[in-house]
Amino acid sequence: MNTLETLKSTDLDVSAIRRDFPGLHQSVHGKPLVYLDNAATTQKPTAVIEALDRFYRTDCSNVHRGVHELSERATKAFEDARVVVKHFINASREREIVFVRGTTEAINLVASSYARSRMKAGDEILISALEHHSNIVPWQLLSEQIGTRLVVAPISDSGELVLEEFERLLGPKTALVSMAHVSNALGTVMPVREIVRLAHTRGVPVLIDGAQAAPHLAVDVRELDCDFYAFSGHKVFGPTGIGVLWGRADLLERMPPYQGGGDMIRSVTFEKTTYNDLPYKFEAGTPHIAGAIGLGAALDYVSQLGIDRVTAYERELLAYGTELLRAIPGLRLIGTASEKSAVLSFVLDGIHPHDAGTVLDRSGIAVRTGHHCAQPVMARFDIPATTRASLAFYNTKEEIDALASGIRRVQELFR
């Protein structure tokens, strides 16, 4: 915390950073692109694009198989990426890092393997009211399969978890707590340490959905003391189709495989198959090798900038944007938690977000409009949708200014 406060936004050379992202330098509908849809996916730095290119040009081979040079190179690069991930989230062992397609698959893996094998009818999975659909639907599928119950801890009008209610809902039947680290629709930073502490007091394991946290905040799974942590590569400047499930080795050890196939086995006969060690037990089939290598490059890039510097810069950007947007009459911010990260979600009086999004797009401003895969959040605030501007470290105050003028143009048109 102290280091964060002493860091200044000037510690980050944003114009140099922007030069690293070729996607930012283009015109859209004749206007310079203002990319404010980072919570959906981020642009990629040259380092990531080149890592993918290098793999496919010179190291393209399968992993953990061949004895030939290319396969050795590919395997090394793939496993090196796992080490990068380990350091990025401060995990203690590489074997706790499972490569998956993304956060969605990570949560489905825990639901299918961990929860299905251990839980019984009547057991409860406790989530919050601000979860993304990917932290709701896998648990509903599980309920249909084995009769578990989904329990939802409420959020306040500002979009914060009501901690007393959460504590009250933690009961003898709670078998797992699964919560977002940062809300994608509202930007709320959840009190994850407190959530984990309260759950662990009652012996309940905790899964944290870190999809919206990894690009913005330092993630330290040992300090968080959680049991599973999931995040997506593409939201942290890496490729799509690759993500990470981190789990405590002792839990992962005891879990049955998620999918069957190549790479996840030690030996196969028609009578009996023995499974491979961690993490390969959960990585059936040829993985997204290039994706993992690209993710490693992305995390290296972020680490070089310094995640604390990123957090400090984005905090200042968010404060600037919040003030600017609050000053616009007829605009209401949705999600006003005291701890927020990188998201400005809002509605405009009498103007549907889809119309706002279309007009902003024609001004070169990319925002997301809709329910953000969080329909229960929209229902909580009694709105069909919001317009969401979401930030990354390459965004600037000038771009927030452009958003504010864009919003005023929208209001003029629909006056």
Binding site: H352, G370, E412
Partner: protein, 156 residues
């Protein structure tokens, strides 16, 4: 606003109908009704019809959505009154062709609906305009279930 596309899309007629939608009511007795839903943006519309044999004698709607979807529902209810089922179908095809820029829709036959030809530069917004029409067709067929724009390909 200087953007020509935006002005083409949000013409005064559309803005007017979105601000003050016509036939925005739930009639006392109707012979046909259906509810439509666009899961991408959460727009919902309910279309109410009074059929007099084969002729639409009254059309109304309720719901919430973007300017395009409200204006489309409003202009649709105005334009289908007094028309037979076959005429409504034919009007829808011409409307759809104009909105997607496919085929050569004759603006004269379309009347006020020609205003939706501005949609051709905005393919992601076509569904906003067709939601009310799909719902209307479902009402005519007396389909009981909720109509979704995500079935558009099969509905056409």
């Amino acid at each position: 606003m200087t953007d020509i596309d935006i002005q083409e899309l949000y013409q005064e007629l559309i803005l007017d109908h979105s601000r003050r939608p016509r036939n925005f009511r739930r009639p006392d007795g109707t012979t046909h009704q259906a509810e439509g839903y666009n899961p991408l943006c959460g727009d919902r519309v309910t279309v109410y019809l009074q059929m007099d044999n084969d002729v639409v004698s009254d059309a109304a709607f309720q719901g919430d959505g973007c300017a395009i979807s409200k204006a489309s529902a409003s202009l649709m209810t105005e334009s289908v009154k007094g028309k037979t089922r076959a005429e409504v179908e034919s009007l829808f095809s011409r409307f759809h062709a104009a909105a997607t820029g496919s085929g050569s829709a004759d603006p004269v036959c379309l009347g006020k609906l020609a205003v939706f030809s501005g949609l051709r530069g905005f393919p992601t917004r076509v569904k906003c305009a067709t939601l009310a029409w799909h719902t209307l067709r479902a009402a005519l067929e007396q389909k009981a279930s909720l109509v979704s724009t995500e079935g558009e390909e099969t509905l056409q």
